[in-house]
C-alpha cells in the first residue's frame, strides 16, 4: 500500500517541508503570548527590584558613557546635553543587546519544551524578545523624565518611533536565530554573545554621535546594523540637528534584512533536528 496524502490532514516524512508552517506559526500565536507572559511574570516576580533593575542598568551605563566620552574625551554632542545623546543611543542598544542574548539562549533554556512538545520552534526565540521590550519601555519612561528635566519637547518625529522599535526587533531576531540554532548544536556559541554585546557597545554610536566617524570610514561603519538604528532613534527623539545619514542608514537596513532572512532560513533548516540534539 502507498500512503495517499490527499486522504490525510498531515503527512510526516523525512525532509518534508511543511506547507502549513507559517499558518501553524499563526495558530500557535497564543503560545507566543503565553511564553512571553511567563518570562515577564517570572522576571518581575523573582527579583523584587526587577523594575528598578530595568532602570538602574541604563542609567549607570549612561553616567559612565557620559563621563568617558563627554567629559574626558570631549566628543561633540551636537546641540544636546550629552546625557540625552547617550541615553537615546543606549535605549535601542540595550533593547538590541538583551534581545539578542535572550533569544540566542532561549532554545537551550526551553529544552524541556523542545524535546517534549511540538510547536513551531520560531515561537521560542521570538517570544524571548518580549521581556527586553518591557525593559525598553520602562527605560523609555526615564528618558521622558530626562527630557522634561532638560526641557526638550519632542516633535512629530516621535510617531516614527514604533517603526524604529520594529527595526531593532528585526535586527536582534536575525542574529538571535542564527545563534539560537547554532547554540543547540555547538554549545560553545554561548560565549560568542557576551563578546558581541560587549564590543558592540563601543563599535556602535552609543556613547558618541555617529557624526564623529571620519567620512572615509562612514560607509563601512554602517555595516554595523545598529549604527543605522541608533541614528534613527536619535533623529526620531531629538529632532533636526540629529540627521540620518541616508546611504549609511540604507546599508544598515540591508544588513538587518540580510541577517534576518538568512537567520530564518538557517533556523528552519536546522529546527527539525533540535529535539534530537538538544
Amino acid at each position: 500500500m502507498k500512503l495517499e496524502s490527499s486522504e490525510f490532514d498531515l503527512v510526516i516524512e523525512a525532509g518534508r517541508t511543511e506547507r502549513h508552517y507559517w499558518m501553524d506559526l499563526w495558530r500557535y500565536r497564543e503560545l507566543f503570548y503565553f511564553l512571553a507572559w511567563r518570562d515577564i511574570l517570572v522576571r518581575y516576580k523573582q527579583t523584587v527590584i526587577g523594575i528598578a533593575w530595568a532602570l538602574i542598568r541604563p542609567v549607570l551605563a549612561m553616567l559612565v558613557l557620559t563621563v568617558v566620552f563627554g567629559k574626558l574625551a570631549r566628543l561633540p554632542s551636537g546641540d544636546f546635553p550629552y546625557p540625552i545623546l547617550v541615553f537615546c543611543g543606549l535605549l535601542p542598544w540595550q533593547f538590541f543587546s538583551s534581545s539578542l542574548s535572550e533569544s540566542s539562549n532561549s532554545l537551550i533554556a526551553n529544552s524541556n519544551l523542545i524535546s517534549k512538545v511540538y510547536f513551531p520552534r520560531l515561537v521560542v526565540p521570538a517570544s524571548a524578545v518580549i521581556t527586553s521590550l518591557v525593559d525598553f519601555l520602562i527605560a523609555s519612561g526615564f528618558l521622558a523624565v530626562l527630557m522634561m528635566w532638560y526641557q526638550l519637547v519632542p516633535d512629530w518625529r516621535t510617531v516614527t518611533l514604533p517603526l524604529f522599535i520594529t527595526i531593532t526587533f528585526v535586527a536582534a531576531i536575525g542574529p538571535g536565530m542564527w545563534l539560537a540554532a547554532l547554540n543547540v548544536k555547538y554549545r560553545d556559541f554561548r560565549y560568542v554573545v557576551p563578546f558581541l554585546v560587549q564590543f558592540g557597545l563601543y563599535f556602535s554610536p552609543v556613547g558618541f554621535s555617529s557624526s564623529v566617524v571620519p567620512d572615509s570610514w562612514r560607509l563601512i561603519y554602517y555595516l554595523n546594523p545598529m549604527a543605522g538604528v541608533i541614528d534613527g532613534f536619535r533623529w526620531a527623539i531629538l529632532g533636526p540637528p540629529a540627521a540620518i545619514f541616508l546611504p549609511g542608514f540604507c546599508i544598515s537596513m540591508v544588513m538587518i534584512v540580510l541577517l534576518a532572512v538568512t537567520g530564518v532560513w538557517y533556523f528552519r533548516s536546522t529546527e527539525r533536528a533540535f529535539a534530537d540534539v538538544i
Partner: protein, 444 residues
C-alpha cells in the same frame, strides 16, 4: 468504532547517531571539537584517501525500524516493550517532535501529545498561572482553558493552593495539577507516554478512570505503559516493540500475556491476578510478586553478591478453610536450567494459621550467580504436597549485572553459572600429596 483510518504509518524508521567522544568530556558538540575533527578529517582524507570515519567515532543506531501501523478512529492502542525499545521515539514521531529517518505517517485530526507530565511548568508561577501556561503549551486555546478551568481545578483538588507558587506544592499535588491539565485536552488523537506511573495509588486510579472516559468518548488514543493491568484494561489492541521493531500485535490481552510469558517484561512488580502461565486448582492464588533490593526498594538489577528479595502476596478464594499452606519458589536460568527449588520448610518456615491472605518476603542472601537473567516461579500448595493450589511459572525475573564489589573482571556467561570465591593457598614447595603414604594401585 468506525473504519476510518486516522493514523497510517509506513516503514517508519528513526536513526540516531551515538557519538563516542574520546576523552568523554561532554555529551554536546563543541564547535572547537568540530573544527579539530574537521582538520583531522581533512588531513586523513588527504593522506589516506579513504576511511574518513576514523576520527569521528559515530555509531549508527536505529531506535525504530520498519514500523507499520494502522489505527482506526476511536481505537485505543497500547504500546508495550522494554526500556529503550523505541516506544517514546514512536510517539515523538507521531507528535511531530522529531522527524522520521525513513518512511512516512499520515494523520487525520489534531494530535495532542503528553510525553511527560507538567512540561513547561514553572516553579515560580502559581497553580493558576501554570494551568494557563501548560494548557497553551499542550495546544489549548485560552478560551478552551477558561472553559475548563474549574473542572481542572476540581480534578486536581488544589482549590486552596491555586494562588501558591507550585514550588511550594508537594510532589503529589504537582503531579495532580499537571495531569489534570493534560486530562482535559480534547484533541482527536491523544498520544500518552508513561505518565500514569506517578502519584499515589488513589490518584493513579483516578487517572486511569479519566483515561477510560477519554477512550469512551470516541477519541483515538495511543498509550505507552509498563503497567500491564492498565494496558489490558484500557486498550482493545496493543503492539509490542522490541529493539525498535514491532514483534507482536493484536488484542491487548493476548499481546500482554505473550509479552509477560516471553520474559521480556522488565517490571520489578508483576500483577499476577491474570497471569497466563499457571497451573493449580486456583483455590489460593498469587496476587502480585515483586523483586526487591536489600532496602526493600523494588528493583530487578543486582550485582553479584547482593541480597535479592522476592516479595509476593497470595489470597484464598471463598470456601478455603485450610489453616496450613506450603510455599516454594523455583529459580531457573534464561536457558531453562532449573537452579534450585526452595521450599519453605527447608528454611524452617511454615504458615500454620493462614486466614485468607498473606504477604511474604523471601530473602536470598549473597546471590553469587553469573550475569544473566534469572526467572522465578511461585508455588503454593497443600501441606501434604498433594494439592497444587497455584503455580505461576517464570512470573518474576531479575538481572544479575556484571561489576560490583566482588569482581570487576568480565564474566562471560558461557564460563560458568556460580561465582564462587574459594580460599586459595600456596603450600610449601616440598609438599607431596597427602595421600602419598597410603597410595595404592587400584586393583582391577
Amino acid at each position: 468504532m468506525s473504519t476510518e483510518v486516522v493514523i497510517l504509518a509506513e516503514n517508519l524508521g528513526k536513526r540516531y547517531f551515538l557519538t563516542h567522544r574520546r576523552g568523554g568530556r561532554s555529551q554536546y558538540t563543541a564547535l572547537r571539537d568540530v573544527i579539530a575533527d574537521g582538520v583531522r578529517n581533512f588531513f586523513s582524507a588527504w593522506l589516506f584517501s579513504k576511511d574518513r570515519s576514523r576520527w569521528t567515532d559515530k555509531e549508527e543506531f536505529w531506535a525504530l525500524r520498519e514500523v507499520f501501523l494502522e489505527v482506526k478512529k476511536g481505537e485505543v492502542i497500547g504500546i508495550i516493550g522494554r526500556n529503550g525499545a523505541g516506544k517514546s521515539t514512536l510517539l515523538k514521531i507521531l507528535s511531530r517532535i522529531t522527524e522520521p529517518t525513513t518512511g512516512c505517517v499520515g494523520l487525520k485530526g489534531r494530535v495532542a501529545s503528553l510525553l511527560e507530565v507538567g512540561t513547561g511548568f514553572h516553579p515560580e508561577l502559581t497553580g493558576r498561572e501554570n494551568i494557563f501556561l501548560n494548557g497553551a503549551i499542550l495546544g489549548m486555546t485560552q478560551a478552551e482553558i477558561r472553559k475548563k478551568f474549574d473542572e481542572i481545578v476540581a480534578f486536581a483538588e488544589i482549590e486552596k493552593f491555586l494562588d501558591t507558587p507550585v514550588k511550594h506544592y508537594s510532589s503529589g499535588m504537582y503531579m495532580r495539577l499537571a495531569f489534570a491539565v493534560a486530562a482535559h485536552l480534547e484533541p482527536e488523537i491523544l498520544v500518552i507516554d508513561e505518565v500514569l506511573a506517578v502519584g499515589d495509588a488513589a490518584f493513579q486510579k483516578k487517572c486511569l478512570g479519566k483515561m477510560g472516559d477519554v477512550a469512551k468518548e470516541g477519541r483515538t488514543v495511543l498509550f505507552v505503559s509498563h503497567n500491564m493491568a492498565a494496558v489490558t484494561q484500557l486498550c482493545r489492541n496493543a503492539i509490542h516493540l522490541q529493539n525498535g521493531r514491532v514483534v507482536d500485535s493484536g488484542p491487548a490481552a493476548n499481546v500482554v500475556n505473550r509479552y509477560l510469558a516471553s520474559g521480556q517484561s522488565d517490571a520489578a512488580t508483576v500483577d499476577l491476578r491474570d497471569f497466563p502461565t499457571r497451573t493449580g486448582s486456583g483455590t489460593v492464588r498469587f496476587e502480585w510478586g515483586e523483586m526487591r533490593g536489600s532496602e526493600g526498594e523494588a528493583r530487578r538489577d543486582f550485582s553479584i553478591g547482593e541480597d535479592v528479595i522476592v516479595a509476593f502476596r497470595f489470597q484464598a478464594g471463598a470456601g478455603f478453610h485450610e489453616r496450613q499452606v506450603r510455599l516454594a519458589i523455583q529459580l531457573r536460568t534464561s536457558d531453562g536450567i532449573s537452579l534450585c527449588n526452595m521450599a519453605d520448610m527447608d528454611s524452617d518456615f511454615a504458615i500454620k494459621d493462614f486466614c485468607g491472605a498473606e504477604t511474604i518476603s523471601v530473602r536470598l542472601p549473597d546471590v553469587r550467580l553469573y550475569p544473566d537473567t534469572y526467572y522465578l516461579s511461585l508455588w503454593v500448595g497443600s501441606i501434604t504436597n498433594i494439592d497444587v493450589y497455584d503455580w505461576v511459572r517464570d512470573c518474576l525475573s531479575f538481572e544479575i549485572v556484571g561489576g560490583g564489589q566482588l569482581t570487576t573482571r568480565t564474566l562471560p556467561r558461557s564460563a560458568g553459572l556460580l561465582f564462587w570465591t574459594p580460599t586459595w593457598t600456596r603450600l610449601p614447595a616440598a609438599s607431596s600429596p597427602s595421600t602419598a603414604r597410603s597410595f595404592q594401585v587400584p586393583t582391577l
